[in-house]
Symmetry: C2
Subunit: 422 residues, 2 copies
Amino acid sequence: MEYRSASCAGNSSNVGTLRVAYTPRIVPQATNIIMEIKVFLFSLIVIYISARLLGELAVRCGQSSVLGELLAGVLVGPSLLGLVYPTETLTLMGEIGVMLLLFEVGLESDLQSFLRVGPSAAVVALIGVVVPFGLGYGVAAMVGLTPLQAIFVGATLTATSVAISARVLSDFGRLQSREGTIILGAAVLDDILGLVILSVMVGLAESGTVSWLTIAQTAGLAILFLSAAVAFGNRYATLFSKLVNRLNTRGALVITALTFALLLGYLAEEARVAPLVGAFAAGLILARTEHQGLIEERLKPITDVFVPIFFVLVGVAVDLSHLNPFHAANQPVLLLAAGLTVVAIIGKLVAGWGVLDREVNRWVVGVGMVPRGEVGLIFAGVGLASHIITDAQYGAILVVVALTTLLSPILLKRLLRNRPIE
Amino acid sequence: MEYRSASCAGNSSNVGTLRVAYTPRIVPQATNIIMEIKVFLFSLIVIYISARLLGELAVRCGQSSVLGELLAGVLVGPSLLGLVYPTETLTLMGEIGVMLLLFEVGLESDLQSFLRVGPSAAVVALIGVVVPFGLGYGVAAMVGLTPLQAIFVGATLTATSVAISARVLSDFGRLQSREGTIILGAAVLDDILGLVILSVMVGLAESGTVSWLTIAQTAGLAILFLSAAVAFGNRYATLFSKLVNRLNTRGALVITALTFALLLGYLAEEARVAPLVGAFAAGLILARTEHQGLIEERLKPITDVFVPIFFVLVGVAVDLSHLNPFHAANQPVLLLAAGLTVVAIIGKLVAGWGVLDREVNRWVVGVGMVPRGEVGLIFAGVGLASHIITDAQYGAILVVVALTTLLSPILLKRLLRNRPIE
């Protein structure tokens, strides 16, 4: 046996600029693995304790526990205590967490009610992309950015973070409400629109031109993936039940369900859709099987292990150094950030008014769409790597993402308290 | 927010020879993380599917499912299909798996019964270290190794792999049998004796001398850790129950229990004991709380997620190229390996006869102690890195570890069928 593993050696073909030499010896790795296990265990302990403590505190203040977990990340991250760093392993485990979260949301959802709110969700998603993009472009152009820079900045304001919205709705028991269904449906559509925008951005960054073929391919693959998942859903579901009933070994049900979610997540990634969309589709499909209740029950502890890693890492990535207003260099950044945050929120609130159903609370839908996340960061990253946007502009976008992510749970909580839905 | 994370950058201070450049840019990592997520999801899917299929097959052949998982690893590893490589993330998640396995074993155990079999376990552990060491030294010296080489080879035969034994016993429902308790107790003691031997080995490798102070420190810390864990156990247990009863957020019980296991694992690592010993102690402690049943039930799905990763990775690490007898270069290696495997098995079977209780099936105890594992590999690795043993000798040890690991479940199954215990 040979533990050639440790320290990315196994991944060396994928690490790009971080390519490391392949060393076939065991001991350096054996020693590293022991060091890494220490760091890894320490990180996990800090993540679970801080997430639990601040999550409890948030709940006692009447807030969503996810707000506590995000703040726990800010607290233990490099900005303040410096106890947890976003290592590869933690990032990947967090990614599994967000997939499991969406898998669980899918399991608790009813495909029919998604199809019912489809038109509303589509309008909300479309407005929620067009208006923030336009307003963001306007703000950026006003403070003197070039048109290409303004396009990138505008694009970062379009994408909704499904994970945050889903978790807040779930914390307040509103996942199955009509508002919740519209928010989730629109956020998933946003993810697909985001892919199309990303392919435009990459084209602009690389060659200054837009390849319509790439755009059509991206959109086509994403739509094909989701339609196929939904259309063949019933067949998968029956197969799944038959398979599980034949297995004898321990944990057959939950691990088979989990593997199915990972598989659809992987296929989604192959179709260039985010893995969490695949996991969500897997949940929708298995929601129709006889095992739905049991899967949900057994999945909960697993979700509880992985999900806090994701949210704490989101907090860990917040760099408070951009936020100090007394540092002169931060002032133009903060000005741009403030302008963008305002239009980012307004843009999504406007989107809420796209709901076609009069009985739905449009403020709730709008606020639910406010949190930005990973996708916006990836847009901004493409712009930064291509030297289209500057470090300072990138910093401003980071602030927008942090503020919308932290504000949305608080706003949503107030709305839900003041205007009870259903 | 800044994903400075990806690809070990966060760990760079710990990676020794694999130190990588720190790059603060986001996009290379964002791209890598997407690539890594693909590879990671693919690996997990392959691990779960192959472990499930071969595990089921093993059970239908009347074998332990862990045998199937080990063979699944050999099949999907670099030796055959090359689908899964032991990346850092998988290795660390597997390590969590083995900790959870021992935590679960601890939860299902009764400290009193361990203390009752204490003397037997101590004798078994001691004989199981001394006899394999002596026989291994003899075989190595006979085929012409130097005394220092022979010492290293002998040392690699001393350590029992707690994980394999515990899993096989659990698969056959024999964890609570007196034989099971003795095997586990002796295996945990073996782990501590292994630490003492390792500190001797490192001294020999580095300076050719033995530091009695280091040995005393190592042994002292390990004994102190275990005694403290057991002695303060009741107090921890009460505190734990009080704490959990006060928490409101979701998953409080299982995540608090898990964090406790990770914490004791981390402290064990600090005391230079293997983390799995700490997790085992955590299980023993929480076994006395009112929540024991509920923790066990909710922990099962989590264990089922992590444990297969560990056993499949053990299989993945098996390098079949050493095993081809038609390759001339392999013949002396295989000869040494065959000799060492025979004495490795005999040595532990002799240890089984150290059981003081006449009603215990000593063959079962002996066979249960046969599997070697991580600890033996680390010893061999120290010898290899210090250029004391050669690549070929290292290869022979890898073969011994692979054979004892794969043979023990099969032998134990036959014994349990022929001679029912209790």
